[in-house]
């Protein structure tokens, strides 16, 4: 019945903008940074002590802004709380409000417990605005005994243990949202949550390496070589797993050659040729693989290790962003008729433009800078 007008008139409009690319990107950074902090607090990786506090606060700062892209994307941001007030439990999205709130509460409590000795001490010694902030943060309790500190340490470890599955659920669920869209063959795969989670760990570790190198440079101290090497090893391992899973999924689709492969192969070879083939695979995965392989060699001079790890970190942050981009945008630019492609509109200005996206990415770093002024992110490495 070709006379019944065209079949998919909703296809030309691409509803999910760059904000929906940013949302999994930022939550991924949260999950990845938390995993590093858990490696220290739970798995006693003492070598990561210099970045343990930084990792925890980084996770909190990014988590605080994880929902901002969604709010900008919504045309009625004031309705955001409806998902909590009146949840539809059969909707995957309704889980987000509860998982996110549980996770940010857990992060807040853990950060508070980790820094409580400093907060209590400064509540007594600082005056002015900073003194007020510390006194508010101390919640009216201005003394710490050995037993209370021991109890806090036990709680910190317990929260870190609970936080690992919570972080995995938080980010695995983001992948689940895409993987559960059965009408979209580019998204609908059970591997999607796993791929999102592992690439989240990649982006989190990469961001931590860069932040650690940057803050060390700003403070005029040498980065702990063992810590950077260890982070690089974890990054290398995570990259290998993430990249293997991404390629496995692709090979699986190609080998199956189902009806949708026709449009997906055109999508990859023509429309995403640069962002997937060049950025995500070549520059973002293959090059950092070799950089990290060299960087993790034990006898490498620290300056070279830092340079190679830092460069790999930058490339991997780009890679994970490209991965989110290719998933979110790639899944929307082919018609669900599997017969054509549409353009993805990308603008500089506006609520969902590139400038707004840039500001959102900078805001967690501003918060981290503010946190570094309030809390001793390096205390554990130097004490």
């Amino acid at each position: 019945m070709p006379e019944t007008s065209f079949v998919f008139p909703n296809d030309p409009h691409v509803p999910w903008s760059i904000m929906i690319v940013l949302y999994p990107y930022i939550t991924g950074l949260v999950a990845g940074a938390f995993v590093v902090s858990a490696l220290y607090h739970v798995f006693h990786q003492e070598v990561l002590k210099p970045v343990a506090s930084l990792a925890l606060v980084t996770a909190l700062c990014f988590c605080a802004f994880a929902t901002l892209p969604l709010l900008l994307h919504l045309h009625h941001p004031e309705r955001a709380f409806y998902i909590m007030f009146m949840p539809s439990f059969t909707s995957a999205m309704s889980g987000f409000g509860f998982i996110y709130n549980f996770y940010i509460l857990l992060l807040l409590v853990e950060v508070w417990l980790v820094f409580r000795p400093t907060i209590v001490e400064r509540a007594s010694t600082h005056s002015g605005i900073s003194g007020v902030i510390y006194r508010v943060l101390a919640l009216g309790v201005r003394e710490i005994s050995d037993r209370s500190r021991a109890l806090d340490q036990w709680l910190i470890r317990a929260l870190a243990i609970i936080g690992i599955p919570a972080a995995c659920v938080l980010h695995g669920y983001v992948g689940f949202l895409f993987g559960a869209v059965k009408a979209n063959p580019w998204w609908s795969t059970a591997l999607m949550p796993v791929i999102f989670l592992v690439s989240a760990i990649v982006s989190g570790i990469a961001a931590l390496i860069l932040l650690y190198l940057f803050f060390s440079w700003r403070r005029g101290v040498k980065p702990d070589a063992d810590c950077v090497r260890s982070l690089s090893r974890y990054l290398w391992g995570s990259l290998i797993v993430a990249f293997s899973l991404e390629m496995l999924e692709l090979i699986h689709m190609a080998y199956e050659s189902s009806a949708e492969w026709h449009v997906l192969s055109t999508l990859l070879t023509e429309h995403l040729a640069f962002s997937y083939g060049v950025v995500q695979v070549l520059i973002g995965s293959v090059v950092p693989f070799f950089l990290l392989m060299i960087a993790t060699r034990p006898k490498l001079p620290p300056w070279m290790m830092n340079a190679l790890s830092g460069l790999a970190g930058i490339l991997l942050l780009v890679q994970v962003f490209a991965m989110r981009w290719n998933v979110v945008v790639g899944g929307q630019i082919f018609s669900k008729s599997f017969r054509g492609f549409v353009e993805f509109p990308l603008h500089w200005g506006g609520r969902e433009g590139l400038v707004a996206a840039g500001i959102i990415l900078v805001l967690p770093l501003v918060a981290l800078w503010g946190a570094s002024k309030l809390l001793p992110l390096w205390q554990t490495s130097e004490s």
Partner: protein, 186 residues
């Protein structure tokens, strides 16, 4: 009793924290109880009375059969044409007031029917009834866009007009040089 005092002292910060968390949770539940409409959840995760509210709205959509009660000639014209599948409202607007007037006019000769308006070029304005030969109306369906079936009558306007040798290619009503609206066969 010293151990009780010591326990309270050592855990006071945690009780304060717990109080804040519980108070926040209670605050959330209180606000939630005030925000949820009474009939929410009766049928599913939405306000049940929204169904009756919506059902009570007057129906604005007119079926073709209503139009063809009077416009029999159009029905005959379209009978064998490909546009048999296109609804009257697609090209002429809802016609809600028009039909109310027509029904009254059928009963009383004192009631007159307002003529159809000219289309203002915007599908989103709520003109009750319009007649247009503007090409934009045709191209709403026939302009080539992605995702359309290969065998659907889609055209690139400039290319099509040049190919067909249109006399007035810039004229908005140029489609009607060759095609009709109801029976579109050239």
């Amino acid at each position: 009793m010293n151990w009780i005092r010591a326990f309270v002292r050592d855990t006071r910060h945690l009780w304060t924290l717990l109080f804040l968390v519980v108070a926040s949770g209670a605050g959330f539940l209180f606000v939630r109880s005030k925000m949820i409409p009474e009939s929410f959840g009766q049928y599913g995760p939405y306000r049940a009375t929204a169904m009756t509210d919506l059902a009570a709205l007057p129906s604005r959509f007119q079926a073709d059969a209503t139009c063809l009660e009077c416009h029999e000639d159009v029905g005959e014209e379209r009978a064998e044409a490909v546009h048999i599948t296109v609804r009257c409202v697609h090209c002429h607007g809802l016609g809600e007031e028009h039909i109310v007037q027509a029904r009254k006019a059928a009963e009383s000769s004192d009631v007159s029917i307002d003529p159809a308006s000219d289309w203002d070029g915007d599908f989103m304005t709520k003109i009750d009834l319009y007649i247009t030969k503007d090409r934009a109306t045709c191209l709403a369906c026939h302009e080539s866009v992605v995702g359309m079936p290969e065998d659907f009558q889609k055209i690139d306007v400039a290319e099509h007009l040049e190919e067909m040798g249109a006399g007035e290619p810039e004229d908005p009503e140029t489609c009607f040089e060759c095609h009709g609206g109801h029976d579109t066969a050239p």
